[in-house]
């Protein structure tokens, strides 16, 4: 996993609650057996006016001029500003893969769905939960000011606006550590192989019917 470093990211506002994973990346793109290449189909049904299919050259597809990410001022955005319950729906990790592939490193919203939250951190994407009023304010500022950037300081757990206003956010220590160091959590878990084996043998003794190879 890549390390998360402090950044000044251009912000794009997606003003819509309950953005589900089908909206983030529609199911036809889930047929890929790779982890990359989902960026061009991020928000496919909102972004284009036609129906997309995997493996297609998207450059000739008609863009939806009303969709926020199609506006030139948001090109190159790295921070997505969203509304409550972002990422609800399925467990597809293709959703964070698509956000990442598109170039987003951070999503800010009043709340996130649990599985999506987990999946995003595993892919080096930082999700920041701020209260509704703050998110409202950031929406207003983003829309008002072209080129609006937020300073994202994970180490200090702060989001800093261009005017210097800072908002603190919570993130659990383990996730923060993994993100900052770019750690592979499988490797970390395997360091505890001994503890896992001990647990497993006790568990097998107490519940032998859970082990079919006995």
């Amino acid at each position: 996993m890549k390390k998360f470093e402090r950044m000044q990211g251009l912000v794009a506002p997606l003003d819509r609650a309950n953005v589900d994973t089908d909206l983030i990346i529609p199911k036809q793109f889930l047929k890929s057996i790779k982890r990359t290449g989902f960026g061009p189909n991020l928000f496919d049904e909102l972004r284009y006016l036609d129906e997309g299919y995997p493996g297609q050259d998207v450059s000739s597809r008609p863009l939806n001029p009303d969709f926020v990410l199609n506006q030139p001022r948001y090109r190159g955005a790295q921070v997505l500003l969203a509304r409550r319950n972002f990422g609800c729906g399925s467990s597809r990790e293709h959703a964070p893969w698509a956000l990442d592939d598109y170039g987003f490193r951070v999503v800010i919203a009043p709340s996130f769905a649990d599985i999506f939250y987990n999946n995003s951190f595993k892919n080096g994407i930082l999700l920041i939960t701020l209260d509704e009023a703050t998110v409202d304010k950031l929406f207003r500022e983003t829309e008002a000011e072209e080129g609006y950037r937020l300073d994202i300081d994970l180490e200090g757990q702060r989001v800093i606006t261009p005017s210097g206003e800072a908002f603190a956010f919570e993130v659990d220590a383990f996730r923060k550590h993994c993100l900052l160091e770019g750690l592979d959590d499988i490797g970390l878990t395997l360091e505890q192989s001994g503890a896992i084996r001990d647990f497993e043998s006790r568990h097998r003794q107490a519940h032998p019917w859970l082990f079919r190879d006995a």
């Binding site: 089908d22 129906e51 709340s111 996130f112 499988i186 878990t189 019917w209």
Partner: protein
Amino acid sequence: MAGQTLYDKLWAQHLVTQRDDGSALIYIDRHLLHEVTSPQAFEGLRLAGRKPWRRDANLATPDHNVPTTLKERSAGNAGILDDVSRIQVETLDANCESFDIEEFRINDERQGIVHVVGPEQGATLPGMTVVCGDSHTATHGAFAALSHGIGTSEVEHVLATQCLIQQKMKNMQVRVEGKLGLGVTAKDIVLAVIGRIGTAGGTGYAIEFAGSAIRDLSMEGRMTICNMAIEAGARVGLVAVDDTTIEYLRGRPYAPTAEQWPVAVEAWRDLVSDADAVFDKVVELDAAAIEPQVTWGTSPEMVVNVSANVPDPAAVEDETVARGMSRALDYMGLTAGQKITDIQLDKVFIGSCTNSRIEDLREAAKVVKGRKVADNIELAMVVPGSGLVKRLAEAEGLDKIFIEAGFEWREPGCSMCLAMNADKLGAGERCASTSNRNFEGRQGYGGRTHLVSPAMAAAAAVEGHFVDVRQYDYDRADAMSA
């Protein structure tokens, strides 16, 4: 000290290590796999030179991409006409073979939707932790198994370590007391719950469904409810163990052997919340007051009673909510104030991991028996959840009832629940569906989904529009039996 909830007990029984930062390593007993969320995980293992930690904990079956017509199915994988879909299924086969993981392949009679297959085989047992790269893994919680959906990175993590890094959730109890009205089913209970608490109401919680109305349900009904816990935002749905649970499992292929059985049953009896357990949140519903439910919008929380009208965004104060409602009405092609029972349909889909088990098919068959699908319905289809459900239904003659009424009787798989295979809605087409998600485009680009129970879907197929199944004349005699 207060007693423990069922969730607390399951958590404690699988805790390998607790870390200072609040995260914990949790041991996983059962890992179910399907073709969509596993290829990148196997690839990750391969690249890192790792092997599955415990092969017998894993069980795989393809379900999302498989065709459901007999002609295509009889050709096995070669019958999957879409190359990308076929490669995904072949990749699962190849990965299971090279990593020595048990798989029910496309034409194995035990193949089916992974959440139907696990319980049916007894591969889901009380007291287990069960995970799968699929959000509807919550289904297995009906067996008092701590079950939840995971992403692909976690699939790889479980394969490699037999563990997951988790944070403990909070406890919520949803208590449904009293008797359901005739024709009202588990699906209506869970839709009513989602209507009440919203699609984010359960975020961060493990929900235990309790109360006499839940105890009265069969295992099929309990699975329907836990299945949709995720639609209320909760990764975990649970129901305590009772005789219904134990009787369902007796004699299933992966259930404990005759020698182990009494010991296992004794251990399972403890899988209930203590009487003095404290929940962080309690939600109560009166079963008798629940009507058949119909969703009108593009989120499962956009749901109303069948006797109601399509709601009006102008009557809602919260601006974000009102805007979402207007957008949904627009997408769904509905007007505020329209009667739900006036909504005309184009297609009917009975299937998915929510409602494709034998009891669901029996319930739907009772409604359609001796009737015909309405002329305005272009396609009405029944897709059994597994090959074994299909065989049982055929032994009971349900297939004939459906076929005579004008339904298509299909081969098992996810089918039009998410339309990754050839079964999908066209743009603007309106469908009564027994599945779990009505998101934009979910059942096909531009498709319009209304979530309902199997009985409601069946009645809608016959009438061509929604009807209140309670006022429908059919033999409910043992409709609600376990």
